[in-house]
Symmetry: C2
Subunit: 354 residues, 2 copies
């Protein structure tokens, strides 16, 4: 692993000090040399010897001891709805990367979008004495954030936003608007939205953005064409089935606020004999790696998930440093693919574009 063959126990400052015949505090200060603590710690010569020996013996400071003394762990806690959701997992990859760069470690836990579990997991993290928290699962109206503020716990939000607290998210409203523009210009006038869970700002904002823009363009999205749903394929499937089961013509285009819901909806449509991309357009959100590779490639709004995760860490570091930080909304980008390829639907149903 490293040059040293340390057998059982880790080497300590004391070991190094003893071997060099100097005091442990001197060793400590030398190995801190970057910070101001290193004042007049030691002569150049001694410093070199200390560093060489530390290297040779494979010294690495004991984080328990350091933490005990300094009251900080260099650990940050991350709570997400579920890591098996590729979106959150990808954001977490960004978090891990950025945290590692600033020498922090991360604990992740799944809350399964359950309010009790969120609190429980936060409590566990705090018992672990993390320096700060990144919440990827905040619910609209949750009181957890207020409690954290009262307890002076540094934290930031990720993925979902919550007015009044710093968050690193996608510009979901903007993303919804992109989809509205796309579907409108390709000739659609009858649309539906698979809107996700009402407690998640992601789904709500994407829906609002779409509706807002759609109205600006002169369109209308009837209330019953906005279907709440779970964020997984199952949820999309159900919403898709529900849409088709209604009397009257189904919409010519469907915007699902999440790729997985979109895939589920595609399944429902196909089962009903509709060809996605021809009989009905489908657009998803997040542009997960799957979207482009599906048998019928899925149009999707790409959200910079890795960047959102990285930014969350940067923001948290500033919060921990006592700064005031503003929320960041990352710019989304629409990728049009076969599932909503232009014109097809309009042509079949007689609505031609521009």
């Amino acid at each position: 692993m490293d040059s040293s063959g340390r057998g059982r126990a880790a080497v300590t400052l004391k070991d190094l000090a003893a071997e060099l015949g100097i005091h442990v505090s001197t060793v400590s200060r030398v190995l801190h040399s970057d910070s101001a603590v290193a004042r007049g710690a030691a002569s150049k010569e001694t410093a070199r010897k200390v560093r060489d020996l530390a290297q040779l013996r494979g010294y690495s400071p004991d984080p328990q001891a350091t933490g005990l003394r300094t009251r900080r762990t260099r650990a940050i806690g991350v709570i997400v709805p579920r890591l098996s959701d590729i979106v959150l997992a990808t954001m977490y990859e960004g978090v891990e990367e950025a945290a590692a760069e600033s020498n922090h470690s991360t604990f992740v836990m799944n809350s399964h979008d359950d309010l009790d579990e969120q609190r429980r997991k936060a409590e566990i993290m705090l018992a672990r004495r993390v320096d700060g928290l990144i919440l990827g699962d905040v619910h609209a109206g949750s009181s957890l954030v207020d409690d954290l503020v009262k307890r002076h716990v540094p934290f930031v939000l990720m993925n979902r936003r919550y007015p009044g607290f710093p968050s690193s998210t996608c510009d979901d409203t903007g993303g919804g608007r992109l989809v509205a523009d796309h579907l409108w210009t390709t000739g659609h006038r009858s649309v539906a939205i698979i809107a996700g869970e009402p407690y998640a700002s992601t789904g709500v904002d994407r829906t609002d953005g779409f509706v807002e823009r759609w109205n600006e363009l002169g369109g209308d999205v009837p209330g019953d064409r906005i279907l709440p749903s779970r964020f997984d394929t199952e949820g999309g499937r159900r919403a898709g089935d529900e849409l088709l089961s209604r009397p009257g013509e189904p919409p010519t285009a469907v915007f699902a606020v999440n790729d997985f819901a979109a895939i589920g909806a595609m399944g429902a449509f196909r089962a009903a004999g509709l060809v996605v991309g021809q009989d009905i357009a489908v657009v998803g959100f997040n542009d997960t790696s799957l979207a482009a590779q599906l048998p019928i490639p899925l149009s999707s709004v790409r959200s910079p998930m890795l960047e959102i995760g990285r930014e969350a860490v940067g923001m948290l570091r500033r919060v921990m440093a006592g700064e005031d930080v503003a929320s960041v909304r990352h710019r989304p980008e629409l990728f049009v693919r076969e599932s909503s390829a232009s014109g097809a639907v309009g042509a079949r149903r007689g609505v031609r574009v521009g």
Copy 2:
């Protein structure tokens, strides 16, 4: 959060002791009451008062201090190729659950299946003084495991196995055999395997199991019909394209050792005008939540991912306790869906079943 409104600093044993007018060691022993350390620590009456006060003040032991003294962190490190792979993410959910139940916390890191990164991440975990390691990304022939043994680091493998070391995996060979049986009995005789990365036992074992059983049944899988691939949709797509680009008839059935690769392959087949489930059968592996919900539902071998993760924790705990533990291979189960619905291919190409 909890009953107490602790403002800034956490309450310590010393605080409790001072408030009750007894010695901190007495408090410590009382709060340990389960273990033998609690000997004749205190009278029933005192013990009750201690526990009540601890509860009231929201005492929670400082893990740094405890760790410093006891030399154990109750933290375990988990290294996976990437959490954005739903398979590993799900296993990690099992790990987190089981770890929480035994009062352990987990650090996860992504190694991106890179040998250097594996070592680096392991090193970071050890610097954090984790009590043990769960490796979900072991490579065939990697020397990392040997080094860990030399350094007396307790660890177990998950997801992938490595002969000679305890692992919690799916019975991948058995899973491959299930697929062979299924495709053979539905009349296929010309098959191909999208085999995954050669350094991962998962892909290798699934392939070997398939070939082994196929041969037993009297079939033959030509070497050039076994295509290595990445484990993602992209990898499956490429392998699918490659298969179709070859001269001669394509196979009537394809076994991809991973659902994502299977989805990629389905994309390739569809792009070439083949209807999956009619012109060509596809079977995946892992039965991720996506498989059943795809527009063309994918046949897949379900591996008990959560259970594999939970088991890994159980095994690690035993390893940490100094026991010898044997590897566990969890039983897989085949779910047949439209992508390889029986008969269709055989009928079209004139090979009837039974």
